[in-house]
């Protein structure tokens, strides 16, 4: 059949001059980016009002790939930077796309405090179980006994259960999907974009070249095969029981609550102060 050359329908959301992206074959980061821009497309999002922020790591390059205003911060500081952006201009949609090491090791403190404040920034975390960009060291989500370049005898550290952490810290919306759940992930990102307050999605993502091959999953297909086999959708189940194990990856939406966002509370306060001052002056 004759194929006319047609541009990819989502290409307008990407910076063509930055493509192809740097990610390895089978890396889940591309899928996260794909689902993210797909969600933007379905939402008909105003790209001029969107700021994409990321930290350091493979997926930290996302900010450079989206055709929006974007900022690539220092390691772990994307949430703190985004807090400044969102507060300074609450009209902006501020989305962070970053990794598990960036957000939960070096940036862990910023994450819990942003969730506690319920500031309206949206965090999409690709969890690939290790530090990919620096060559595969153990991170805060590396499973027990997993082999990495800095746990050559097997990891002895207990990993974070990210959805439990986010829920406990006070996030308004918490979900977990894998890169195989592209449809639900896209819908979930739409929900995240539309909700008030601090929202978080963990995307369990394959890192075949760096993590998988040391852990008996030599290809992206094998890692995706693990997700297919182990994933169970349990919406609104107890995030405390959602630890990721070799046999079981609980996915779904865990938290979806209504709570005033920090920026709304703060700007309401400003309005009240101004009202009082006006009364005094009149």
């Amino acid at each position: 059949m004759v194929q006319e050359i047609v541009a990819h329908p989502l290409s307008k959301y990407l910076r063509e001059e930055m493509m192809p992206h740097i990610w390895c074959a089978g890396c889940g980061n591309g899928i996260v980016l794909n689902c993210f821009v797909h969600a933007l497309d379905e939402l008909k999002a105003d790209l001029d009002k969107l700021v994409v922020v990321s930290g350091i790591g493979c997926i930290g390059r996302t900010a450079g790939y989206t055709n929006t205003a974007s900022f690539h911060t220092t390691h772990g500081r994307s949430i703190a930077f985004a807090t400044g952006v969102k507060l300074a201009n609450p009209e902006l949609d501020v989305v962070i796309v970053s990794g598990d090491g960036d957000l939960f090791a070096i940036g862990g403190n910023h994450f819990i405090h942003a969730a506690r404040r319920n500031i309206g920034i949206k965090v999409i975390c690709a969890n690939n179980f290790n530090y990919g960009m620096t060559g595969g060291q153990l991170g805060p989500t590396t499973p027990l006994e997993a082999l990495t370049t800095t746990s050559p005898y097997g990891n002895s550290e207990h990993p974070f259960n990210l959805v439990h952490l986010a829920a406990a810290a006070g996030a308004s919306y918490v979900a977990r999907w894998t890169t195989l759940h592209v449809r639900r992930l896209t819908q979930s990102i739409k929900r995240l974009m539309q909700k008030e307050g601090f929202c978080f999605i963990e995307v369990v993502s394959p890192c075949p070249e760096i993590f998988g091959r040391r852990n008996k999953m030599r290809s992206g297909l094998e890692m995706m095969g693990w997700f297919r086999k182990a994933s169970v959708v349990e919406n609104f189940s107890d995030p405390a029981k959602a630890d990721i194990t070799p046999d079981r990856i609980v996915v779904g939406e865990f938290v979806d609550i209504e709570k005033m966002s920090y920026e709304k509370l703060f700007h309401e306060k400003i309005a009240q102060i101004n009202e009082k001052t006006m009364e005094k002056m009149s």
């Binding site: 329908p9 493509m19 195989l180 290809s219 992206g220």
Partner: protein
Amino acid sequence: MPERIKHVPLDIEKVKPPRAEIHLIKNQCKGCGYCIEFCPKKVLEESEEINARGVHPPKIVNEDKCILCSFCSAVCPDFAIFVLEKKQEETKK
């Protein structure tokens, strides 16, 4: 056609089932194989050819079977495949 479906839909003349037009951007493919593996209708296969990145991009072996679910497009990390609906005029030909 499976045994149990014997009747012919009344509007078969008017309503054409949507047909797919699969687009591959071959040189963008990194050869992860997700589109091939996760296609519910097995429309794609690994090709023999080698693209600019030195991998085998998929080839379309059965476009007629495509149900336009676009899972291949959604799961592609490299924006190298997408599916459009064929225009009805074209299917009449």
